[in-house]
C-alpha cells in the first residue's frame, strides 16, 4: 500500500488489464488529493456496470447501488449531509440509459455534486451491446446490422439545462482529466464530466483511434457562452470535443431553501424532536 496515497486500497481490480478505466481511477484519486480531501470526507456513489465498480477500488465511503440509480441515492446522501463530497461514478448505460430520467431531473435540481460518466459507447459488462451513445451504423453484439438509433448527446442536454459545469475528458489522459475533476468538484452545482473511455475488449476502435480524433476546446472558447458551447457539441465531431465546455449561470442549489433555514448540519445530527414539537402538532387536531 502506498502510504502517500490515502485513497489507495488493496482490493483486486476486476477490469480488463489495460482498460482506460484505470486512467479515470488514477485521475479521481489525484483530484481528491489535490482538493485536500480525506477519505472519510468523500462519498462515491455508483450503479451497475464496469464504471460503477470504481468505488471499490478507492479508499473512501461509497454506496454501490442498483443499475441506473446512482443519482437518486447520491441526492439522498447529499440532502442528508451536504458537507460530504459526493461524486457519482457511472457509465453511459447506467446513467444515460437505465437512469436517464434521474439525470434529467438532477439538472433541474442542481445539487452540488459531480457526475463522472465513463462513456465507452458500449455495454461492456454484458458483452458488447449498443449503448445510448453508440454512433449510428456501428455494429454491436445485439445490433448486428449496425445501431439505428441516434446517440444521446448528454453534454448538450446538460448545456440546454444550464448545467453548472459541463466538461469532457479522455481516460488515457489522466493529467488533464484530473484537472477537470478538480474543477468539477469545486464548482457549486451539478457538474457533468463525460469521459471518453474506449473499450479495448469489445469496442471497434483502439485507444489511438480516439486519441487522433480528440478536439480540445479552442483556446478562445468562452465556457460561459451557451451558444458557443452548443455549437462545439453539436458541430461536426462534437463527440470528440474535450475540455471545459460550459459553465452554467449561478442558480440556487438543491435544498437551498431548506438549508438556509436549517443550516448545513447533517440531518443525522439533528437528533430526535422534543416532546413539545410533537404535542403541538397533535394539538392542532384537537377540537376546540
Amino acid at each position: 500500500m502506498n502510504v502517500h496515497d490515502p485513497f489507495q486500497n488493496d482490493v483486486e481490480i476486476q477490469w480488463c488489464p489495460g482498460c482506460p478505466n484505470f486512467g479515470i481511477l488514477t485521475a479521481l484519486k489525484r483530484a481528491f488529493v489535490d482538493l485536500q480531501l480525506e477519505p472519510h470526507q468523500v462519498c462515491l456513489v455508483s450503479g451497475i456496470g464496469q464504471a460503477a465498480k470504481l468505488p471499490h477500488y478507492l479508499r473512501c465511503n461509497f454506496f454501490n447501488g442498483l443499475h441506473g440509480r446512482a443519482i437518486p441515492v447520491a441526492l439522498g446522501i447529499h440532502a442528508a449531509n451536504p458537507t460530504l463530497t459526493t461524486v457519482v461514478t457511472t457509465g453511459e448505460g447506467d446513467c444515460y440509459g437505465e437512469g436517464g430520467n434521474h439525470l434529467l431531473h438532477a439538472f433541474r435540481r442542481n445539487p452540488n455534486m459531480t457526475v463522472v460518466v465513463h462513456n465507452n459507447e458500449i455495454y461492456a459488462l454484458t458483452k458488447g451491446q449498443g449503448s445510448p451513445t453508440t454512433p449510428v451504423g456501428e455494429v454491436r453484439s445485439l445490433q448486428v446490422h449496425g445501431v439505428e438509433m441516434t446517440p444521446l448527446n448528454m453534454p448538450a442536454v446538460a448545456v440546454l439545462h444550464d448545467g453548472a459545469f459541463v466538461a469532457r475528458g479522455f481516460a488515457a489522459d489522466p493529467d488533464h482529466l484530473k484537472d477537470l475533476l478538480v474543477e468539477a468538484v469545486r464548482c457549486p452545482g451539478l457538474s457533468l464530466v463525460e469521459v471518453i473511455q474506449p473499450c479495448i475488449t469489445w469496442g471497434p476502435h483502439p485507444v489511438s483511434w480516439y486519441k487522433e480524433r480528440l478536439r480540445p476546446v479552442p483556446t478562445d472558447h468562452d465556457p460561459t457562452n451557451r451558444e458557443a458551447a452548443l455549437r462545439l457539441l453539436l458541430g461536426q465531431d462534437g463527440r470528440f470535443v474535450t475540455g471545459v465546455i460550459y459553465r452554467g449561470t449561478e442558480r440556487p442549489l438543491f435544498g437551498h431553501r431548506f438549508r438556509s433555514a436549517v443550516g448545513n448540519e447533517p440531518l443525522g445530527r439533528l437528533g430526535f424532536p422534543e416532546n413539545d414539537v410533537v404535542r403541538s402538532l397533535l394539538d392542532k387536531f384537537r377540537a376546540h
Binding site: I48, R59, L66, G76, V262, L267, R279, A287
Partner: protein, 558 residues
Amino acid sequence: MLDCTLVIAGSAGEGIQTIGDVLADALSAHGYAVFTWQEYESRIRGGQNTYTIRVRQDPCNAPTWEADILLCLNQGAYEKAAGRLKDGGILLAEEPYDKAAMVVPFKAMAQERLGRVIYANTIAAGALAGVLGMERDALEEVLGREFAAKGLEVVEANRQAARLGYDAADAACRDACPWSFPKRSGSHYLVTGNEALPMGAVRAGCRFIAAYPMTPSTGVITFLAKRSEELGIFCEQAEDEIGAINMALGASFAGARAMTTTSGGGFALMVEGISLSGMTEVPVVIVLAQRPGPATGLPTRTAQGDLLFAVHAGHGEFPKAVLAPADPKDAFHKMVRAFNLADRFQIPVIVLSDQFLADSRFTITDFEMDRSRPESFLADPESLTIYKRYALTDDGVSPRLVPGMSHHLVTADSDEHDEWGHITEDLAETVPAMMAKRLRKAQHLCRAMKPPEAYRVEDAREVFCSWGATRGAVLEAVDRLRKEAVPVGILHWTELWPLAPVTFPQGARLWTVENNATAQLASLLGQGLGLRIDRHILRSDGLPLTARYIRRAYHERA
C-alpha cells in the same frame, strides 16, 4: 343511544368536502365523537361523490352506509345517493327531487341574499346544523378558523350564510327532525390516517422523505412539506417512485431517518429498492396506501389488495417487516415502531395504509404519545478500532455507522459483498456467511413482532381474523352479532410480517374478514402458521367494509 349518520352528496367542485369538514369540526368542537369517510371519483370536477359523517357521544370509528340525513346538491347526487336514506330519514335538497324532500335553495339564496353563489356551501352547512338541532351559532367558530386567511369580511359573510341556512332548515323541520346536539364537555382529536402517519414519522425522528404524488398516499408528504423547515425534515418530490426510494436509501445511509410513500403502482416501481435495502442493510420505511388494482384500478377507492405483494416485495431472500395500522392512533405509534424496527434490524419496513384510513377522520380520545419513543441503534465510532460495515455477528446485525461522521469509512453494496462491503464471489465461505447473517436477523425480528389483538375470543365459537384499518367495522359487527347471541370474537393483526406465534381459541371456526377479493390474510396465515382458513367475508368493490356488510355476509354464510 345517539348514533346519527349524515351523508352529503354532490359533484367534485361543489364543495362537499368543505361542508363536511366544517360540520364535522363543529360537531367535534361541541364535544361529540365524529367519524367521517369519503368516497369520490378520480376527477377534479363533476362526477358524484359522498362525504359521510357519523356522530355519537362515544367514539365508534366505523363507517356506516345508511343515512339519517341526506343532503343532495344536485339531481345526479340524489339519484346516486337516495338509496342510502333510511325510512323516515330527512332528505335535504337544493330542489324538490322527490316529494318528501326538504328544499333549501342554497344556490339561489346565496345569489339573492349574499350576492355570490360561492356561499351556497356554507348555507348548506348551516342548514345541516339546523336539521341536526345544533345551536344557531354552532358553526361560527369553525367558520372563523376556516376562512381566517381570507379576511374578516369573508368570515362574516360565511357566518351570515350559515345563519341563513340554519334558519331556513329550522323553520322547515322543527317538528320533523328529532335530533338535538347541545354543546357537551369533552375534547377529542379528529384526525385522518394521512395526518397521523406523518405525525408518527415526526415523533420517530424522520428527517427525510421523498415521494412521487399518488393517491391516496400523497397527503403524507404534503403534511410534512408544509412544515419542512420548521420541523427540519427534508422533503423532496421525486421524478418517479424509483427515484423516491433510492433517495430515501441514500439519505438513510448518510444518517437521516428516511421514508417514502406511495400506492400500489408506485410501490411496484419501488420493489427493486426494497431488495436494495435488504442487501445493503440500509433501513427505510415505506408507506403503501392501498387502492384497488390491478394497474391503475380505482385510484380514489379503498382496498386491502396488496398484503401479499408487500410481504413478498423484492427479489432475493432477505428480512423485512410489514405493519398495518388499525386507525390513526395506531398509525402514529406504528410509524415510530416502523422506524425503530428498520433501524434496529437494518431492514425495509412497509406500513400498509389504504384510502379508507388515509382519508377518513377518526375521533381519538388520547394519542398516548409517550407510549412510543424513537430509539437509536447506531454504533459509537469511538468504540470501534477497525470498522467493517458488514461485520459478521451473532444476531446478524452489524454495527452501523454513518459516512462522514468519523474517520471510519462506511460502505453499502448491492452486490454480494464481504465484511468490508466489497464485491465477492467467494462461494465457499463469504457468500453463504453473508446470506446466513442477513437471515439471522429475520429470526430475531420474528421474536420482536407482536401477535394479533384478541377481542371476545375466550368463549367465541366463531373467530373473525382481520387486519389493518378494518378494525372499527369488525369490532362493531362483532358487538352487533354478540347482541344477537352469536358467539363471535376477533383476532386482529396490525403486525403482519413476520408473523408472531398465535394461540387460536380451541374449537372455534376461523374466518377472515378482508377488504379484498382473494382472502390474502388467509393465504398469509397458511404460509406463516400452517393454518387453513376457508371461510371468508370479503369486499372488493372499492368501498370500505361496514358492520352491516360484515353482519349480513356472516348470516348468509354461517
